[in-house]
Subunit: 216 residues, 4 copies
Amino acid sequence: MSFFERLKAAASAEWRAYTEHPFTNGLADGSLTEAAFRHYLVQDYLFLIEFARAYALAVYKSPRLADMREAAAGLSAILDVEMNLHVKLCAGWGLSPGDLEQAPPAVEMLAYTRYVLDAGMRGDLLALKVALAPCVIGYAEIATRLAARPGAQAATNPYRVWIAEYAGAPYATPAREAELIAIFKEATRLEADFWEMGWRAGEETTRQRVMSTQPS
Amino acid sequence: MSFFERLKAAASAEWRAYTEHPFTNGLADGSLTEAAFRHYLVQDYLFLIEFARAYALAVYKSPRLADMREAAAGLSAILDVEMNLHVKLCAGWGLSPGDLEQAPPAVEMLAYTRYVLDAGMRGDLLALKVALAPCVIGYAEIATRLAARPGAQAATNPYRVWIAEYAGAPYATPAREAELIAIFKEATRLEADFWEMGWRAGEETTRQRVMSTQPS
Amino acid sequence: MSFFERLKAAASAEWRAYTEHPFTNGLADGSLTEAAFRHYLVQDYLFLIEFARAYALAVYKSPRLADMREAAAGLSAILDVEMNLHVKLCAGWGLSPGDLEQAPPAVEMLAYTRYVLDAGMRGDLLALKVALAPCVIGYAEIATRLAARPGAQAATNPYRVWIAEYAGAPYATPAREAELIAIFKEATRLEADFWEMGWRAGEETTRQRVMSTQPS
Amino acid sequence: MSFFERLKAAASAEWRAYTEHPFTNGLADGSLTEAAFRHYLVQDYLFLIEFARAYALAVYKSPRLADMREAAAGLSAILDVEMNLHVKLCAGWGLSPGDLEQAPPAVEMLAYTRYVLDAGMRGDLLALKVALAPCVIGYAEIATRLAARPGAQAATNPYRVWIAEYAGAPYATPAREAELIAIFKEATRLEADFWEMGWRAGEETTRQRVMSTQPS
């Protein structure tokens, strides 16, 4: 069992709450509300900026040149590729760069990104990688699972682009457990909160719409 | 107008939402639910630990020995005095040290403390002090205002100890604006969210109690 | 007068001791000993790795996405371009990648790189940029001055490749003085020590050779 | 064999070069020049300030409250006790607080203190403790050995106060080797350079005096 397999086993409840959140199922069958997805997209833009900072921190933390180059490649992938893809994806949902840049940060986004940056600054490169892992290995795992669902990749599913984008390749690394499991659990829990935040935004919009269309 | 007066003026909406939050009024007239206060107390314990780390960071960041000594005095005040007072206050509300240490961190506590630590690590000593200011100057301002309310310090108000503890002395420092105002606003907003978190816990408990006593 | 012009004026003695060090003149007229240059090349390789870490720190420290991209471009320039050029230059002087990787760090290299990293971690992005400035703006200024000397670019000057490599474009940024001048002075002084270190290595080799050829 | 015993064994050459440096023997038999000791005292004052910052960093890095309190006690010991003792010791050698505060930092002091701070910020709490260990455990070991020498504690030895001050208690902690041994070796080597720096200052003064008294 690889190091991350063991981490996932040690944090299995948190891992399931994150990777099997209703938000993700709503992406596969297209039932997620637009409001929920849009709110998620905006916060995910702010999230990417902080994740780029975390990769820069990984370069700074690296004890070897090979680690520096690997982390620098990750940083460049976020700043030069992922962010552009994200801005394009957002444009398709009616969100302009200005909408993204001026969005007030959600408490869930702040908690998650700053927790990762602090765990990484406080600990060493491995602690930082573990804090990054729920996103790095989780998104690929989620998207791969969703992509296999009937209809997930159909032209009628508005979320098929997101699924295709993340149904990519996973990741791996060595170990020093207990402390790392604690970081991993916390970061996984915060990933789940992030879905929850998007989900709540959708439910509120639905409730408001339902209420505004009810006869008084 | 002092530097912090100008910061408060520049962040007046956030400052009011924080210092005049319903939670604070509930402390003055004793109407705050016990569940809300207890949840707040537990998270405030976790908060104090991170604030001690922020003061340690201020020692590290200090360009002059005098700044180091000042920050080290703040660190010592938290670890040697405030935390003990807090543990005692918690004991009076039926919360044991074990309850405090094993409490899962709330997302609002994580967001606030890690934001402060990150703003401080990213910027210089002044940026860190500004991020700490809503707590350092706000708690004194709130408690002083509440203490003046009729009945706030009466033996019948279960929250009089908290009010007396914080109706203490404020704080002050120099300037480099715009960026600092942004940090101050964010930290103030997160202080308000912290109250909101406690408030919500109280409302949920009340709702559950009301529901459990309703005839089915 | 630009910000860096003012910094240079405020640190004029340190700036001259660095940019007009005998080591640099030895590069222009080819009189520098091979031992001095080789020792410098090896330590400069270790220096580049730490400078890459400093640029990664600048990405982490950046308050805006545009600053992040600028610093990330600098990081990538070091890791993907400068280090390769440096390894090639070293090969031309008989230094293998193994020689570079296994070299024990000189105290002057440690003092300079760690001072820059600490000044940058302690302060904000501007403090970090000021600590980086003696290298970033100084090397271009030195190489441009040397390139204009008669014979400096002649095929007979073994150091013409180094001169050509750095006779490139300078750099610029805004201000908060006194503290920044102090950082700038210190970093400039450490740049001079770095030359001095190389120079000493050359003198020692010469002395040893002279002594070993003297009749006993 | 304890963790630090193994570290010392793994870095035995560096450890001997540090703990048995001629400078230390000169302290035991009183033969060290005043100029060497005075230069050392001044740089050691600047060193203590950075070591206080390193202990503050240890508080920030601590994963547990108990670790935070231990590191905070170390910080307070430096700022509230050691620095005062040091200022008094310096006064006995004719060095005023002003002499200490205005002294230009020596390259050996910068290299050592910034290496420790960087190794600690880059790695985790254990890495930081290992980087601090040559000073924390070495000084006690050196002073204990010197104190046992005949005459070391005699009233005629001007360095007996220094010896008595450090002939105190050692220190201990757990493990993750290779990387830690590398940090320990480097920090030990830099401790030796620190002695060397003081030693050189003494030799230069002696040389100058000898030359100025020679008949021309």
